[in-house]
């Protein structure tokens, strides 16, 4: 059949109109907690999201297969918002209409636009490793919950580890900060500047232009600066390019560190052996040893119910997903403890999420305590090193420089509060 204009136009109209006509799916279960997981699978975060989402869905499957949590089943609606605001807002509103009490967009631009809406609608907005860093201040952002260490805390952790390496004294050392030249890349600068004053080391920032697939002009300058330590800060392709250039310029890998955005997948691109020694911040344990990951392997993946390729189970971003899912589920458990019969609403879940105390998910996370004031969870993380095959923890869970981080958080949350009135 030759496609002519009339067939094309009428076919398109029929396809686009179909969702409006077809019957909506009805849900039989009465005790369901709905989450909206509209994330970016196609535009910028791509493989990060698919690994993160795989972890989340596997953990939810694990919980649901065991009969749910306190009688509630978790229903996570996963969709793609492609980092596009109209699509993300549509997904958020759709979720709200269907009764979702939590939204996890995993995208900074989307989180920014959803913050005022979530605060109005009283829907818990999870902004793990994204969104506004000052959302850690729960008094100003009651319904925005990062539940994870923000970029300021990560910078504080890295510098404290450097200080430990130099036996407590960074005086006169030279630390280079190579970052993508976007708001995200510049975010840790205030913390680094305050610390450079306090610990009297020399801070040299080197910005590279986004998206960062060519950084060959920057790294020779970094080498010539003869730094004692290097921090590189980017996302996506910028990370692997930065690491490749660092290796090419002969920088000692055991003096180079990045944020949470470094994973096994990046190491495959860079070369597993060449990158030996490079450091990253770990918000949760990686690998397959933690108990939740073992459980998932046995009860979900082993039974063919895994959400994605088995090889990704236990990689860094997969475990971030499990970490966030575990925190959400723990929030539901706490909420059900406080009010067993619901009703399931945003405030109901919020009560639970802000009551999480010393939760470690059987060793997957550092002890995390979320309160109504602190939505970051205590600010603990650890530094780990790439040994050629996996990331090996170099420290125990620790928190560092939280006074400086909270100074910065309060500065910005105060400002947000002022414009809100």
């Amino acid at each position: 059949m030759a496609v002519n204009r009339r067939i094309f136009v009428s076919g398109t109209v029929a396809t686009l109109a179909a969702p409006a006509i077809l019957p909506r799916r009805a849900f039989a279960q009465d005790k369901v907690v709905r989450f909206t997981m509209a994330q970016d699978f196609t535009r910028i975060y791509t493989f990060v999201t698919s690994e993160y989402s795989q972890g989340q869905r596997d953990y939810f499957t694990l919980i649901n297969e065991r009969g749910g949590v306190a009688g509630y089943k978790i229903l996570a609606e996963v969709s793609d918002h492609a980092n596009d605001l109209p699509r993300a807002i549509e997904a958020y509103e759709r979720g709200k209409r269907e009764g979702a009490v939590l939204c996890d967009p995993l995208s900074t631009p989307v989180a920014r636009a959803l913050v005022p809406r979530a605060l109005e609608d009283k829907i818990n907005l999870i902004t793990a490793f994204s969104g506004r860093s000052d959302a850690a201040d729960g008094t100003v952002f009651p319904y925005v919950l990062p539940l994870s260490i923000n970029y300021w805390t990560q910078a504080g952790l890295i510098l404290d580890y450097f200080r430990q390496q130099e036996k407590g004294d960074l005086k006169g050392k030279k630390i280079v900060f190579v970052h993508i030249d976007t708001p995200f890349g510049k975010e840790p600068l205030p913390i680094l500047q305050v610390l450079s004053q306090k610990l009297s080391f020399e801070l040299l920032p080197f910005p590279y232009t986004p998206p960062g697939n060519d950084q060959s002009a920057i790294w020779p300058q970094v080498r010539r600066a003869r730094p004692d330590y290097v921090i590189f800060w980017g996302a996506g392709v910028g990370q692997t390019v930065a690491l490749t250039e660092a290796i090419r310029n002969g920088l000692p890998m055991n003096k180079v560190s990045s944020s949470v955005w470094l994973s096994e997948s990046d190491m495959e691109v860079v070369g597993k052996d060449a990158a030996k020694g490079v450091m990253k911040v770990e918000p949760c344990a990686s690998g397959r040893d933690p108990k939740p990951i073992k459980d998932i392997l046995a009860e979900v993946v082993g039974k063919g119910k895994g959400a994605g390729p088995e090889g990704k189970v236990g990689t860094a971003y997969y475990n971030y997903g499990v970490q966030m899912a575990a925190l959400m589920v723990e929030g539901v458990r706490k909420a059900a403890e406080k009010a067993p019969n619901g009703p399931v609403t945003g405030p109901w879940l919020n009560e639970g999420l802000t009551a999480i105390a010393n939760f470690t998910a059987d060793g997957l996370l550092p002890p995390t305590t979320i309160t109504k004031e602190d939505h970051q969870g205590g600010g603990q993380g650890r530094i780990s090193r790439w040994d050629g095959a996996k990331f090996v923890p170099a420290t125990d869970w620790f928190a560092a420089n939280q006074d400086i981080v909270w100074g910065e958080i309060r500065k910005y949350s105060e400002e947000f509060k002022k414009t809100g009135k």
């Binding site: 396809t15 969702p19 807002i89 636009a113 708001p183």
Partner: protein
């Protein structure tokens, strides 16, 4: 049969020249207007905030770009930057305590001034070279905004829009923002409908068809090219501030990158260059086709029990969306507005196909 053109005899020039000479068209417009006005009372908030509001705002922006591209024939790849200037200008003014009515106009004027500055390139270059010049504008504006903390709003690079009032009405709820965006859209649409009948619109058309021929006929291409950029940038800036105040509520540089410019450009081209109706159709297709296709896919995956991996599920709608855009450009190069035009032409004389139009 529907349009009932028989018996319509214009006895005065005003009747002949009115925007919608046919009674049926006037009724149709009133019906659409009535539906849009009644929408907040009937529709769920989900449709209002998720579909109608962005549709109105993006259509308004596409109308502004259409004046430049369809009206004056000047290509512009940096319309997102134009909107950014308006958004940032007005939000800064609003934060400083200036009323929104004035801030919006001032944002528009700021966009117009800067837009015209870059538009001056159009005096010397055309076509693909002008595209490059306006693309440069996009990147320069992006760079200036994100590199100046005073503009972008510090380390977090987010400017919160404070609660605002327009003519004494607080723009907080969905209904208020919807009516505000609808009002702005109606004003812009009326302007676009009328511009074709003015000397300004005719001069733009002359410049579009051949600029030196227009110059020979006594139409100053210098003046009208700059004016086209001025007007279109003013509309872009004003719509930018509506976008910031009604929809985004917190602005950051990444919301106005090249993606926005390309999106609006696509709306104009798919909708139909030079048509007033086109941008509305274009905006609907470009904004909502990915959403609808995605939901369709999700529906198929969950209720029909087809197990599609999420990566594939996320990418298939994009493939379909791309095919759709190419399909429309192949089968109807004059845009979606032309499809409506074809249907209307057919029905004008239906059921007498052989009748003269």
């Amino acid at each position: 049969m529907f349009y009932r053109r028989t018996g319509i005899r214009h006895t005065r020039y005003e009747q002949e020249r009115q925007l919608f000479p046919l009674h049926f068209d006037r009724l149709l417009i009133l019906l659409v207007l009535f539906l849009l006005l009644a929408a907040p009372l009937v529709l769920d908030r989900f449709y209002l905030a998720g579909y109608l509001l962005p549709w109105l705002i993006w259509s308004s922006a596409a109308l502004g770009l259409n004046l430049l591209m369809g009206g004056a024939g000047q290509i512009h790849l940096g319309y997102g930057a134009v909107m950014a200037i308006g958004a940032y200008g007005s939000v800064h003014l609003v934060r400083a305590g200036v009323p929104l009515e004035i801030a919006m106009i001032a944002g528009g004027l700021l966009s117009a001034a800067i837009g015209m500055l870059f538009g001056a390139a159009a005096l010397r270059v055309k076509g693909i070279y002008l595209a490059m010049a306006t693309l440069a504008m996009q990147y320069i504006v992006d760079f200036v905004i994100s590199q100046t903390p005073a503009i972008s709003g510090g380390t977090l690079a987010t400017l919160q829009v404070p609660p605002v009032r327009f003519l004494g009405i607080s723009l907080r709820g969905d209904t208020e923002t919807y009516y505000f965006a609808l009002g702005v859209c109606i004003v812009i649409t009326l302007f676009m409908l009328n511009v074709g009948r003015t000397s300004f619109g005719r001069a733009l058309a002359a410049v579009r068809e051949k600029d030196y021929a227009a110059q020979i006929l006594g139409v100053s291409t210098f003046k009208y090219k700059l004016l086209a950029f001025w007007v279109s940038s003013f509309i872009g800036g004003a719509v930018g501030s509506v976008l910031a105040v009604c929809y985004l509520r917190a602005i950051s540089p990444d919301q106005f990158h090249i993606e926005l410019s390309i999106q609006i450009l696509a709306m104009v081209i798919v909708g139909g260059l030079g048509s007033v109706l086109g941008p509305f159709f274009g905006a609907a297709l470009i904004l909502f086709a990915p959403i609808v296709l995605n939901n369709l896919m999700g529906f198929a995956a969950s209720s029909l029990g087809i197990n599609i991996p999420i990566d594939l599920r996320a990418h298939l709608p994009l493939v379909a969306y791309g095919a759709l855009v190419i399909g429309f450009l192949l089968y109807e190069p004059l845009g979606l507005a032309k499809i409506y035009g074809n249907i209307r032409n057919y029905l004008l004389v239906w059921p007498f196909r052989h009748a003269q139009r």
